[in-house]
């Protein structure tokens, strides 16, 4: 055996060499032909129609996941921005303040540059779906063909309207031209709304299908469209799109602010950041209610799906959601508070205590919202608790507690805005004291009522809590907003301005807060998009068409989280590229202006080390400036 050793070794080497060669050939062939083989894997079996195709390495599901998510995020932005761009234009037209018109135009510029990319990703997604899921797509086409035609028509008119709206901005800036331009903006939003709700019907049909066995094509399509979760998703997405659009515009302004080289740019992008944050917060306030309604409808439609989402393996996503929303609430309030302390000189001492009180309430609410029903615990910890459910804090893990704290957080955020609005002004109206007492009483009573209903919710049947208590909590918060907003507006009409707002003096962390908020919203959308889609578990169309592909399993949460992070990163890169291209012209103009000496010499962008100067006390009122 000893003598045979070298021979065996040589033969072994030769064999190994051949094996490596053969393996290399196979690998090469595999690489060259993998795509073709995969794409044609079932086409040779002419007898049975192809149900699925796959892609090597990345896998069909992952690719569709990434492209669909990017398309949805872009679409959310593209459909959300026209709403507030149009509103800004109206404000500018009515008030005669050109700042708003300029802002609306800047928003629309971002929209125009993103529109084509959105459509491009929509096209890619469609091809991928047809290629990877031919059987499912044939089934959906059979049901939804009439709405496909409607969708195409909507896209045509939306595109034409957007072209007219954008390219006609300067040509239609005065008189009747402006009125027509605003009408075009309205049309743009109407078409955009329908463009959103038509595909929503396809996605919601997959989760809560309504299938007519008989009837005309139109009747079947209409029944499938008007499924139980269609309108809850429509409303939820409409609001979420405004939030996404607002925060992304805020982030854009934040980055432009951080890289601004002139005071003029700082004024403008500071103000734009404020408007973006305001829009985001404005949409964020009703969003929890819309989300609650959607989940309620899902639960009522199907107990299994409801529990999968909120009590089953997807319930951890709602804890992550609480964390992301928590950061979003904190980030938005932080930005408001920075606005008070930096834009209104001398106000810090006055507002420090109220800010601290609001921060503590927000953090306590967040602590409750983030507390899961089943806790992550070691074996020893679980034994001490008597299971993964803490006997005392476990009560924070259910909807009664979550709804209560989300309502309180909305109230606090609303009051942050009111405080910001009132800062630097002194009431002169004779009835100001009474009005402030009424507002204080309304707020305090509302807070107490929300908490009482939340605690009471544990002692009544679930249906009473869902139908009456939760809706009453929402009603109370809306009542507070509808009472305090007009009262504040009336008070401020006659108020004396003691300290003018100084724009362009926000510290760099305000810009970073805006970027952080945008990233949180994107992560939230990727997270909850996965939750909505995964709640169907192993069904393409819930209870109707089973997923029989190799990807029918639900991915592990860690794996899904990695893909969500990747999607968020890709979307941010995509948006950064689009905005970079869109603002190339501006930068060229700014460079030309700089060459002529209009930019202050030695001005350093905040993100390039000029940040410390922005943290210094703001100049006095005599040096105030307004954004241009």
């Amino acid at each position: 055996m000893m003598h045979q050793g070298p021979m065996i070794t040589n033969q072994g080497r030769e064999l190994a060499g051949r094996a490596v060669f053969l393996t290399g050939c196979v690998a090469l062939l595999g690489l060259v032909g993998a795509v073709d083989m995969a794409l044609a894997q079932e086409s040779v079996a002419a007898q049975a129609p192809t149900a699925y195709r796959d892609l090597p390495l990345i896998g069909s599901r992952n690719l569709v996941w990434i492209i669909a998510q990017l398309h949805l995020l872009l679409a959310g932005f593209v459909l959300g921005v026209p709403i507030f761009a149009w509103l800004c234009e109206i404000v500018g037209w009515k008030s005669g303040d050109k700042r708003y018109d300029k802002l609306a135009k800047e928003f629309t510029k971002l929209l125009t540059s993103s529109y084509a990319t959105t459509a491009l990703f929509g096209g890619i997604l469609l091809f991928l779906l047809i290629g990877f899921y031919p059987k499912l797509m044939a089934y959906l086409t059979d049901i939804f063909f009439p709405s496909f035609l409607v969708y195409c028509a909507l896209f045509l008119v939306e595109t034409a309207t957007l072209y007219l709206y954008w390219y006609g901005w300067d040509a239609m800036s005065e008189g009747n031209g402006k009125k027509f331009h605003i009408f075009l903006g309205l049309l743009l939003n109407v078409f955009a709304f329908f463009i959103m709700i038509v595909p929503n019907s396809w996605a919601t049909f997959q989760a809560s299908p309504v299938v007519l066995a008989e009837g005309t094509d139109f009747e079947r399509a209409w029944a499938a469209t008007w499924n139980p979760t269609w309108w809850p998703v429509n409303i939820h997405r409409l609001i979420a799109n405004v939030v996404l659009g607002g925060y992304i515009c805020g982030a854009y302004a934040g980055i432009r602010y951080l890289s601004a080289k002139s005071q003029e740019e700082r004024y403008h992008y500071d103000w734009m950041g404020y408007v973006g944050n305001f829009i985001g917060v404005f949409g964020l306030l009703p969003l929890p209610f819309a989300g609650y309604w959607l989940m309620r409808e899902i639960y009522q439609y199907n107990q299994q799906m409801g529990i999968t989402l909120m009590g089953g393996f997807l319930s951890w996503l709602f804890i992550l959601q609480a964390m992301l929303i928590g950061v979003l609430f904190l980030g938005s309030n932080y930005y408001f508070w920075l606005g008070i302390t930096h834009r209104i000189p001398g106000s810090e001492a006055q507002y420090r205590k109220p800010i601290m009180a609001m921060l503590i309430i927000l953090l306590l609410c967040l602590a409750v919202w983030m507390t899961p029903h089943s806790l992550v615990a070691s074996l020893a910890e679980a034994q001490q608790m008597g299971g993964t459910h803490h006997p005392l804090l476990g009560v924070f893990g259910v909807m009664s507690a979550k709804m209560t704290v989300s309502n309180l957080m909305v109230l606090v955020t609303f009051m942050s805005f009111i405080m910001y609005w009132r800062a630097g002004k002194q009431d002169t109206a004779g009835w100001a004291k009474v009005a402030k007492a009424v507002m204080g009483a309304v707020l305090a009573l509302a807070g107490i009522a929300v908490i009482i209903l939340g605690v009471w919710g544990y002692f009544v049947p679930a249906i009473i809590r869902i139908n009456y208590f939760s809706t009453s909590q929402v009603g109370i918060v809306i009542f507070v907003m509808l009472t305090i907003t007009p009262l504040t507006a009336l008070l401020l009409k006659s108020a004396k301005t003691t300290t003018e707002m100084v724009w362009g003096k926000m510290p760099p962390r305000a810009g970073y807060a805006l970027v952080l908020n945008a990233i949180m919203v994107i992560l939230l959308m990727t997270l909850m998009g996965y939750a909505r889609s995964s709640s169907r578990v192993h069904w393409h169309v819930y209870g109707v068409m089973r997923d029989s592909s190799q990807y029918a399993f639900s991915p592990a949460l860690g794996y899904a989280a990695a893909l969500m992070a990747l999607n968020t990163f890709l979307f941010c890169m995509l948006v950064a590229f689009i905005f970079w291209v869109a603002t190339m012209g501006d930068k060229a103009k700014a460079a030309a202006a700089s060459a002529k000496g209009s930019v202050e010499p030695g001005t350093i962008p905040a993100m390039a080390g000029g940040s410390q100067a922005l943290d210094e006390p703001a100049p006095d009122a005599a040096q105030q400036n307004r954004p241009v």
Partner: protein, 241 residues
Amino acid sequence: MGGVLVRPIILTVLIYLFLKFIVPILPHSAPLPSSLIFLYLMLTTAGIVIFETLSGASKDAFFGPIFRFLTGESGGALSSARYLVLALFPLLVGWQTYGSTASSDAPPAENRTIHPAPPGEYTGLSNPVPKTPDNIMYGKGLYASRCSPCHGNFDGKGFAATGFTPPPANFKDPTTIAMLQESYLFWRIKRGGVGLPVEGMPWKSAMPRWELELSDEDIWKVIMGEYDGAGQKPRTWDESE
């Protein structure tokens, strides 16, 4: 280190002590898992940083001593402390990394889903047994003989309860059966612990498969008795139910 830093440090320590030592001794409480304490301390830290960076002056007052300490501007005895921190910090990171990656005989942290989704065939079922006093009483009788040894007087404290980890469910707790539909309980009683999906960790439930001993009708009656005895109402979508 600067007086401004003292208050946040004291606050953080106090909150930690409260969560670690006070919460467990509150009535009906238990020690908190470290994951939850970590979460609450992260929130505290975030709150402190937010508050202390609201203005340039407060930011400088808060971070100034830290920067001065780390850059060696403080001088004196703090310089030696700085070297100590700079040397210890990488060691701390290394220790943490080792602790989180080294193999251990400790079981992994548990994230069991208490209420996993039921199989499709159990969703949408409604209790076919009329809700009469006799049926409820009959159900309570079955409960007393089959369920109370573990679940006790609907409070999860039966005489055999101490032998189980996790312990039997407390039906009087508003976060248990009051959140569920009757069909959910039907599934759990009928199929028992072994019927749980993976995320519910079937190996962690000693609940028997009552389908082997009880008819479906009896199970529905037990459910009625359970809700009545615990003073709870099942989740429904119809207020009249």
